[in-house]
Structure formats: structure tokens, C-alpha cells
């Protein structure tokens, strides 16, 4: 289903349709995360990917034209690049231990300590929360700063050009 939606996104010429299909893709991705028992990630994907980003993309479409221009030349370079990188990634997964193996390297490093000690050390039963906000607090601070920076950047860009337009409108009648 993910593959079908992806092909549909590529084939679709109307950007409105692309936005809706991207939202569907995010919901499918959220279901995949639920199937993998990653409830926190699934919630984030459903609310951010399918909800807010769809609304923001629609708001952007409100500003620009809604049909994609047809590309005149057929460009094969991107196809080769994406196929090559995809092939490399699949080749890289071949040496990973099978999915769900309990003695994989990633489960032997800090994961057991987090699972056994985090309730005692932080008093918070949800391990994901305690890792995000406590053990990896510095990373989350970085994430919050990224969101902050992005928001400030977009606000500055959109607001300043609006003020210029207002100046233009004010000068026009003279």
C-alpha cells in the first residue's frame, strides 16, 4: 500500500492531490509504527505528518498555483541516483541481524540499563519519555531549538515580505 501511494504521488499532477496522498502516506506510516509497537512515534507521525503538515501544505497551495508544470525533458539521472542509493541501503541491511533478535548489538549497549533502572531513577513508567526528557535531555533541547529556529525563520521571511507589499500598496495610489 505504501508503494501504491508513492507511485500515485509521483504520477499525480495536481498538487492538491499530492498533498492529500502525502497525508494518506503518513497515516499508513503511523500504522506501520503501531505494528512495530512504537506508539510514541506513531502518535507523532499521525499528528505531525498527517495533520499539521497537511494543513501547512494546503496553506502554501493557497499562495501558489495548484498544478505542477509538465517537465519537457525526460531526465534519467535522478532515477539512477535514487535506485543506486536505494540499492546501497538494501545491501547495507543484509548484514544486520534479523528483525527482533534479542541479542543484537543495539539491545546489549544501554537499552537493558534504561529498561531496568529508569523507573527507579526517574520515577516515570514510560521509558520513552524518561529517555527523551532525561537521559537524552540535551538532544531534546537541540530538537526544541531546531523547531524554535525554524518557526522564527519562517515568521521573519513571511512577515517582512508582507510589510514590503503593504508599503508598495500604500505608495501605489499616489
Amino acid at each position: 500500500m505504501l508503494a501504491v501511494v508513492t507511485v500515485a504521488i509521483v504520477r499525480q499532477r495536481s498538487l492538491f492531490g499530492v498533498v492529500i496522498l502525502t497525508s494518506i502516506y503518513s497515516f499508513l506510516m503511523a500504522s506501520v509504527f503501531i505494528a512495530l509497537d512504537a506508539m510514541d512515534v506513531a502518535m507523532t507521525e499521525a499528528s505531525v505528518g498527517a495533520g499539521v503538515s497537511t494543513v501547512l501544505l494546503l496553506a502554501t497551495l493557497h499562495l501558489v498555483k495548484t498544478t505542477e508544470l509538465r517537465d519537457v525533458r525526460v531526465n534519467l539521472m535522478p532515477l539512477f541516483v535514487s535506485l543506486g542509493i536505494g540499492g546501497l541501503l538494501v545491501w547495507g541491511t543484509l548484514v544486520l541481524p534479523p528483525f527482533g533478535t534479542p541479542d543484537a548489538v543495539i539491545h546489549k549497549h544501554v537499552a537493558p540499563r534504561y529498561l531496568s533502572e529508569s523507573i527507579k531513577e526517574t520515577g516515570v513508567p514510560n521509558v520513552v519519555t524518561s529517555i527523551l526528557a532525561d537521559y537524552r535531555g540535551f538532544d531534546t533541547l537541540g530538537e526544541t531549538t531546531v523547531i524554535f529556529t525554524a518557526g522564527i525563520g519562517v515568521m521573519l521571511l513571511l512577515r517582512r515580505s508582507r510589510r514590503r507589499k503593504d508599503d508598495g500598496d500604500a505608495e501605489a495610489p499616489k
Binding site: L56, T129, G137, L141, G151
Partner: protein
């Protein structure tokens, strides 16, 4: 502008429940899935839904531009202040142990404060982005 009556009434009916769900996700994040990021997005979605169905004016009466703009840096400040508090009380940056009488409660409090900071920043940023795009389009 005229907005659809069914949508307007329906939105106003479910609005408090969306906010309640956001707060549940925020404060229950310690026990189940959820946390500041998700709760912030749900809060922002509430404001955006109101703006889409009932008009920007009503949404901006609930969440005015100034408040939204203040929320964006305020959340980061809360986060950093929580970290610096640990620093001032004699531990490392972002070490929550000295925030309360015993380290476990300190960590609980620290996580709570940090999540609140994330909630405020995320909700503020999402609503600010939406306002910026919509006002540009008018």
C-alpha cells in the same frame, strides 16, 4: 465570509475535548505514549481547526499573534532554565536530581518542566507558521 453552520457548531462542540485530549497526552506522557511534542501539535491543531472552520478572527481572539509569538521562545527558555537550575544547584547541566528533596522526585519534576517547555514551543511554532501562511495569502 459565511462558514458552514454544521461545521461551526460541530467544531465548537469538539474543541474542548481536543484541548482535554492534548492535556491528557501531555500529563499522561509519563505513563503511556505521549509527551510534550505530541500534545503541542494537538493543541496547535485545535487552534488551526477553529481558524479553518470559524474564521481567522475568532482563532486570533483565542490565540492572538502576540501570545503565539511569545510562546515560541518561552518554551525554549523554560527548557534551558530547567537545565541551568541543575547547574546552579551544583550538578551538571540538565541533571534534574537537585530540583527536589530526593533525586527521583527531582527527575520527575525536571521531566515535567522540560515537557512543558516542549509543549509551549511546539504549539506556538505550529500556530505561528499557520498564521504566517494564512496572513500572507490575504
Amino acid at each position: 465570509m459565511n462558514y458552514d453552520l454544521v461545521l461551526r457548531v460541530g467544531t465548537k462542540l469538539i474543541l474542548p475535548f481536543i484541548l482535554l485530549f492534548a492535556l491528557y497526552v501531555q500529563f499522561h506522557g509519563d505513563y503511556g505514549p505521549g509527551g510534550g511534542f505530541q500534545a503541542g501539535v494537538i493543541t496547535a491543531a485545535m487552534v488551526i481547526l477553529l481558524a479553518v472552520t470559524c474564521g481567522l478572527e475568532l482563532a486570533q481572539r483565542i490565540a492572538p499573534w502576540g501570545l503565539v509569538q511569545c510562546m515560541v521562545p518561552l518554551g525554549v527558555l523554560i527548557y534551558i532554565c530547567t537545565g541551568v537550575m541543575g547547574l546552579l544547584l551544583g550538578n551538571n547541566f540538565l541533571d534534574y536530581s537537585p530540583l527536589a528533596h530526593d533525586p527521583v522526585h527531582g527527575h520527575e519534576l525536571g521531566i515535567f518542566l522540560v515537557e512543558a517547555g516542549v509543549l509551549i514551543t511546539v504549539a506556538g511554532t505550529m500556530v505561528a507558521l499557520f498564521y504566517a501562511f494564512v496572513e500572507r495569502g490575504r
